[in-house]
């Protein structure tokens, strides 16, 4: 691991979606793979449906858990608008994995909230590698919509540069046996989906 620059990851979503869990798994997977890793989170509102974000950084040596704006390599958004909210933290042409799920935020004023349309088009226009995944639907079809976060984690497994056996080891270690199989399924679905979209994208650029 000498002088491995590692990756800066950012996980964003709505309280209750399981942002903190996937961030924890990613940090532990990095440590399992021999990296130094640090993590921090904003979760005062985690149970209350507000914006939640967690930074994970891993490299041969990490000094501080907060990634400065413009230096995140991979953003995982469990909800679309939260992806947009944190996209300015992603480095030029960085990777953004967007869950297709949309949750309209609660009103702060007497004016109804307008959910921004075409978030993915906007992000693609900004030059980010933007991958849209319907993780919530996939998780629902696998048996529990709550596993959407693990589908999305699977989608970054390759790009993060953490070996697959480290991912699997921490998933087995940290998820309760009752929901383990479902989550391994969800994780593998995520890996597959990302590989397929990747193949499709390179197919497009080939022509």
């Amino acid at each position: 691991m000498a002088n491995d620059p590692g990756k800066n990851l950012l996980f964003a979503g709505v309280g209750g979606q399981g942002v903190l869990l996937v961030a924890e798994l990613a940090a532990r997977a990095a440590i399992h793979a021999g990296f130094d890793a640090k993590k921090t989170e904003v979760h005062g509102a985690a149970q209350r449906g507000g914006s939640v974000v967690s930074h994970v950084r891993f490299a041969s040596k990490v000094y501080s858990p907060l990634t400065p704006a413009g230096e995140v390599d991979i953003l995982v958004a469990l909800e679309k608008l939260e992806g947009l909210r944190w996209a300015s933290f992603v480095r030029p042409s960085g990777l953004i994995i967007l869950n297709e799920e949309e949750r309209v935020p609660a009103q702060l004023t007497d004016k109804p909230v307008e959910y921004p349309r075409q978030i993915d088009t906007f992000l693609i226009g900004k030059g980010f590698q933007t991958v849209l995944i319907n993780a919530t639907e996939i998780a629902t079809s696998l048996g529990n919509y709550r596993a959407a976060n693990i589908v999305l984690l699977g989608a970054i497994a390759d790009a993060a540069g953490i070996p697959m056996d480290s991912w699997m080891a921490v998933i087995r270690q940290h998820l309760p046996p009752k929901i383990l199989e479902l989550n391994i399924n969800a994780f593998e679905n995520g890996i597959e989906l990302k590989r397929r979209t990747h193949a499709a994208a390179s197919h497009l650029t080939d022509h």
């Binding site: 209350r48 449906g49 909210r85 933290f89 609660a106 009103q107 702060l108 007497d110 109804p112």
Partner: protein, 336 residues
């Protein structure tokens, strides 16, 4: 944080550097200590960069440091190009507080709030709280307002406080009200836990922080002992009972405490119960949006006919109670 600060360690560290920065959030605690010690480095520079450059509010993120200390560029948010609505925290689907706040809003009461999840009652659709200062202040604020404004407000004022906040710092101001002949009505929102910070045990729960059995304070006995004669209990899922209990207390010429009693929906014990989610029946819905007044995040009101998320609805029945057209029903009813 270490206190007292390790003076030798800090001084020997400062001895080896060219310039001293103290980067700490909020007040200049470490910085002031360094100034008192008159810490210098070998270059004789005692000038410390601290709060003379750094803000004493908010988080000191890398971007803030870059902007203030390195005079670099700040974050380029996309907000100028595309609207990014904020996402405030909300009460959970089926939160017992929503029943109380719906009634406070309906009765157009002035309400002094306190610190907890229930502070969210200040936001739409409830707009129910008028003040929030610090723990215990809600009760004291209400009494203060009553003292100077009773002739204007009449009996349209209540204080709202959660169970753990009440035990922490709500008893003293309540004694003040009794002692000084107030007539304030206090709503004690007893959800059997410390909701906001993650379900820590408190002296009303019968469990220590290590989950061992211990004495659980009996609120009714406690209130009687400090001189509150009118204590009543209601279930916030029962909107009529809630309204009646609050009105009854307000009508009295003496201090009163009404206890809203129902456990937080996020407690493990509550989550383990079977939930029967509801749905909106399209043919019956008149698109009046009345159900949105309960502020439940399981209801998406952005479409003409509100949509209930079957995954998130816990079947508390509150929204169904608001619908005049019986358009909201348990999904199970249709399937049977």
């Amino acid at each position: 944080m270490t206190f007292p600060l390790p003076r030798k360690l800090i001084e020997s560290f400062c001895d080896g550097v060219q310039r001293i920065y103290v980067i700490e959030e909020l007040e200049p605690f470490i910085e002031e200590q360094l100034r008192i010690w008159n810490v210098k480095n070998p270059y004789g520079v005692s000038e410390i960069t601290g709060k003379n450059s750094l803000p004493n509010m908010f988080e000191l993120t890398p971007d803030v440091l870059r902007r203030t200390l390195l005079h670099g560029d700040g974050t380029t948010s996309f907000e100028k190009e595309i609207s990014i609505p904020p996402r405030p925290p909300v009460l959970c689907p089926g939160c017992p507080h929503s029943g109380v706040y719906f009634v406070l809003h309906k009765l157009k009461l002035t309400a002094t709030g306190d610190i907890g999840c229930y502070t969210l009652g200040a936001l739409p659709p409830f707009n129910a709280l008028d003040t929030t200062f610090c723990m215990g202040a809600g009760i004291a604020n209400a009494f203060g307002i009553e003292k100077v404004k009773r002739h204007v407000l009449g009996k349209k004022l209540v204080a709202v406080i959660g169970d753990s906040t009440f035990l922490h710092s709500g008893i003293a101001p309540l004694i003040d009200i009794v002692f000084n002949k107030g007539i304030t009505t206090v709503i004690l929102m007893d959800n059997s836990t410390t909701g906001m910070t993650g379900h820590q045990q408190h002296p009303g729960m019968g469990k220590t922080i290590r989950n061992a059995d211990t004495y659980a304070i009996n609120y009714e006995e406690l209130l009687h002992a400090i001189g509150i004669r009118h204590v009543s209990v209601f279930d916030p899922y029962d909107l009529e009972e809630t309204e009646a209990a609050i009105k009854q207390a307000l009508a009295l010429e003496e201090p009163a405490v009404v206890i809203s009693r129902r456990p937080c929906v996020m407690l493990e014990s509550e989550r383990a119960k079977p939930h029967h989610p509801y749905e909106v029946i399209d043919e019956l819905c008149e698109e009046c949006d009345l159900c949105l007044k309960i502020g439940c995040p399981a209801i998406d009101g952005s479409t003409p006919i509100p949509r209930i998320s079957a995954e998130r609805c816990i079947g508390c029945d509150l929204c169904a109670k608001l619908c005049h057209f019986e358009a909201i029903k348990p999904i199970a009813e249709r399937l049977n």
